[in-house]
């Protein structure tokens, strides 16, 4: 007799995998984004089963609530030609699938002997009334303080790079930079090249 929790686990996992598959196979990008939202919801369900309610809520709030909505806006605003993007998808699929299957097969041969089974990792000893959020916050701001702060710097770098790459003055601006024109050197424009002597072709007759 399967426990109810196990049943839930398989349900969430199956929907998660199917939704993830549809993300990359859906023809319509809006559908793909919506399937990604479904996948995130199911992943959140899995976290919930592990009693990690804080992570589950964060996943839904941050990814579904913020990132995916933004993504949906972008997809709807840009007129992306899906057919062109997906060119070559089917011709690359057999090779890609073969490599992926081989890797999965080989890895499961190595790892298939139950190293990470439920026996090896007994469930956490946390009592039911312990607060997940509090525990996470405690390690985040004590033991993991250093990497936590560095992660914020990584986000800052991402912001700087994104702005640097996208902020631009209007293209095709024909304004003149007089200082540059004055400061130009002869060498910037002219390069002396040695060429073979050209002999004039004999003039055409009949003039």
């Amino acid at each position: 007799m399967i426990e109810f929790k196990t049943l839930l686990f398989y349900l969430f996992s199956a929907v998660l995998v199917l939704a993830a598959l549809r993300v990359i196979t859906a023809r319509n990008p809006v559908h793909a984004v919506l399937f990604l939202v479904l996948a995130f919801f199911n992943a959140a369900g899995l976290w919930m089963l592990l009693q990690a309610e804080f992570l589950a809520i964060t996943l839904v709030m941050v990814y579904v609530g913020a990132v995916m909505v933004l993504f949906l806006f972008v997809v709807m605003m840009l007129d992306i030609n899906v057919e062109r993007l997906r060119q070559g998808f089917w011709s690359y699929l057999p090779l890609g699938a073969l490599i992926a299957l081989l890797m999965v097969g080989e890895m499961s041969l190595v790892l298939g002997s139950g190293y990470f089974g439920a026996e090896a990792f007994p469930g956490s000893q946390v009592t039911a009334d312990a607060s997940n959020t509090k525990e996470l916050a405690r390690v985040m701001f004590t033991d993991y303080f250093f990497p936590f702060e560095l992660a914020s710097i990584i986000l800052l770098v991402a912001v700087i790079v994104a702005v640097m790459l996208t902020l631009r003055k209007r293209p095709g601006n024909k304004a003149m930079h007089s200082s540059e024109q004055i400061a130009v050197q002869r060498n910037d424009r002219i390069r002396m090249v040695k060429m073979a002597v050209e002999v004039d072709a004999p003039a055409a007759k009949g003039e």
Binding site: D143, F146, P147, I153, I154, V161
Partner: protein
Amino acid sequence: MLENFVTPDFYPAAAELFIAAMALIVLVADLIAGTNRRWVPALLTMVALVGAIVVTAATADGQTVQTFSRMFVDDLLADFLKLMTYLAVIMALVYSRRYMADRKLDSGEYYMLVLFATLGMMVMISASSLVTLYIGLELMSLSLYGLVAIDRDSKKATEAAMKYFVLGALASGLLLYGMSMLYGATGTLEIGGIAQALYQGNVPKTIAVFGLVFTVAGIAFKLGVVPFHMWVPDVYQGAPTAITLFLATAPKFAAFAMAMRLLVYGMFSLAEEWQHMLLIMAVLSIALGNLAAIAQTNIKRMLAYSAISHMGFMLLGLTSAVVGGQVEPFAVVNAYSSAMYYVVAYVLMSAAAFGMVMLLSRPGYEADTLDAFKGLNQRSPWFAAVMLMVMFSMAGIPFFIGFFAKFSVLLALIKAGYTSIAVIVVLFSLVGAFYYLRVVKLMYFDKPDDTSPIQAGVDMRAMLTINGLMIAFFGLFPDAIMVLCTTTLMRSL
């Protein structure tokens, strides 16, 4: 609730805090200074790096101290590699100043990203936990992706950045997967704890080795050795030369530190396993790097293939520590210090080589082909001589620094009993000598295509001169750096 928590000691991480603070100051100062005062971020960045040298030198006391809940380690190895990193970054900035200004790429973001990348390298060098190591790696890589794409109107640079980004993300994934396996096997993220668990031997070895394979793949990507080298030629060629110089120098120290921290500090008990993997990658890199470089006409691409072969050589030093299950302290120190010496030598040489490419470039003209070096002797005998020293040194001709780097690695290799491997790599180095000497031939025996005088500032000329003289000087007196490397490793292993 916080009964087990000790407030971390910030003192060992003073240099990191200083660089991080200065990077943020540059961010704000650049905003205030505006686009007309480009010297503000440049000057502040120099101040940051020189200040970091002072801070690191002042706090280096030779003690191994762990802080931030054992996530950060400050030992002599970290201090030495950090000092080398600062010097490499300063060198890169001095070389690039005019090049970047000519191409209008010397924005505040450039300096900020250089500082953040430096911070990432420092974090990697001082990592004593898988988390810090990975975070440092990402900080460095993300800044580097941005730097490669800094010339956003250049199609080649954008393509290079995209390739670097996609392959880098893949490598990060592999590395993370390997780390998760190590965590699963040993139950700890701390590098010292992993070493202890592996040493005691009550961990599933299959899982540990499985994790090791992926970790080695991640390290190999960052070093750019075969079969994870595909990005190197494209990125080196596509990025603006100043960024290529930066990419080819300082991050090598960080990658070396990553290899040391993960493999030597963390998985020394598995040395027999990873030494074999590294040995195969090293020989393949030396073979492919040297053979492929012959066919190049673009000097940046040629130097990229030469970088692959040099990194292969460096790996050889890491493979000759443990022989037949015997751990002999002297042999171990000898092997690792030869690898470290190789990195230092390589960074000196490649900085000068890319510096030369920038010396010959001018606004609107990139001297990135071999033909640009034709007849350099007639245009500037001194800089032709500098390039001659760099090329001789890279080829491993005595008495330049590159010779002693190769010599010490080969010595460690032969002591470890890999004589046949040593013979093979020497043969491939001989093949490599061809394309280094070809540059010398072009400079001295061909007529110049381009006779315009070399435009370069005093700072760049001085830096190139110093760099070239260092290559010659440390070739004549190799002990100076060698002793430093050996002492560092003896006191931090």
